[in-house]
């Protein structure tokens, strides 16, 4: 199905948010996630089912002032 990951359209086989993170190699990474502009905490990723058209944000630490 087609989703939007960090603003870019993408095809995925992942059924859950956790599977999507595994698919992009960030399963163990220090990241935070949001689906459709709502925060999804790390423990909830495995049970958070994805749907076609979902907008997913995966954020990692970066430089800031």
């Amino acid at each position: 199905m087609k989703i939007t990951l960090n603003g870019e359209s993408r095809e995925t086989e992942a059924r859950t948010l956790a599977e999507l993170l595994a698919e992009i190699g960030l399963a163990e990474a220090k990241v935070a996630t949001a689906v459709n502009e709502a925060f999804v905490a790390a423990p909830a990723r495995a049970t958070h089912a994805l749907e076609a058209g979902d907008r997913i944000e995966v954020l990692a630490p970066m430089q800031g002032g």
């Binding site: 603003g7 935070a32 949001a34 925060f39 430089q63």
Partner: protein, 257 residues
């Protein structure tokens, strides 16, 4: 000494981590300054370069408390969601709350700021609000649950220093027990020293160090400045006066006319 939600800083310099020429120079700036806090942020990571993971490893190595920000947020919802994501990633209840209201001046939207501060404080966050010097807004932020206030010195990145020193002095007088931080607009160590001489508890800056010709040397200069200003405030400075007053005693002076 006023603490930040129970934490006493090793050094009243809060230093940003953005815009340095290289990660090595960033680390050197922290090492030479002994900055007490590192501000950080969040950005998209989709897997390929893992830049965020490398950055985090370097920041963790600094051994300094981190203060994540909500930079670039323009609404309550966006700032609150970003704060939740930051709390999970950085494993801290601290959040530098920025809700930008004006794209040219990067002036905070103080109405949205107060609302976001209330939502986050009720959710257990320890909010460091980036605000203006407005006393009424400051009151409302405290009422919303903030135990720290961070008025701007001047617009972010401008380097203008303390644009409204009167207002900052008046904030210090109105909120004698609240930890106060001048956040943004600092250009020179003398600006930072001045903020500390006014009785501020810390100074937060980034561009003035990161964009200097020698960031690590400038970071050290800022560190010395804030410590000097802090000591000066504690030492109870004299009041300025218009008339001269001889500093050398007049009594016992020889009569040689």
């Amino acid at each position: 000494m006023r603490s930040f939600y129970g934490t006493t800083l090793a050094n009243p310099l809060m230093l940003g981590t953005a815009q340095y020429p290289s990660p090595a120079i960033l680390a050197e700036a922290f090492r030479r300054s002994g900055a007490g806090v590192a501000t950080v942020s969040l950005r998209r990571e989709s897997g390929a370069d893992r830049a965020g993971q490398d950055f985090w490893a370097m920041i963790a190595d600094l051994g300094v408390p981190v203060l994540p920000n909500t930079a670039g947020c323009h609404s309550v919802k966006e700032a609150v969601t970003t704060a939740h994501m930051a709390r999970e990633v950085f494993d801290t209840p601290w959040i530098k709350l920025e809700v930008i209201g004006h794209t040219d001046t990067l002036q905070p939207d103080v109405f949205a700021l107060v609302e976001a501060a209330r939502v986050l404080s009720e959710d257990g966050f320890q909010v460091f609000p980036y605000t203006t010097e407005d006393l009424v807004v400051a009151e409302k932020l405290l009422h919303a649950g903030c135990e720290v206030l961070m008025p701007w010195g001047a617009p972010i990145g401008s380097g203008l220093g303390l644009a409204n020193e009167y207002a900052l002095r008046s904030m210090r007088a109105h909120f004698p027990d609240v930890p106060l931080v001048v956040d943004a607009g600092i250009g020179l160590p003398s600006h930072a020293a001045r903020a500390m001489e006014l009785g501020f508890d810390a100074v937060l800056l980034n561009t003035a160090v990161a964009k200097a010709g020698d960031p690590a040397m400038m970071a050290e200069a800022f560190s010395r400045a804030v410590l000097a200003g802090q000591a000066a405030y504690a030492a109870d400075p004299i009041e300025p006066r218009d008339m001269a007053a001889p500093s050398t005693p007049v009594i016992g002076k020889a009569f040689l006319e």
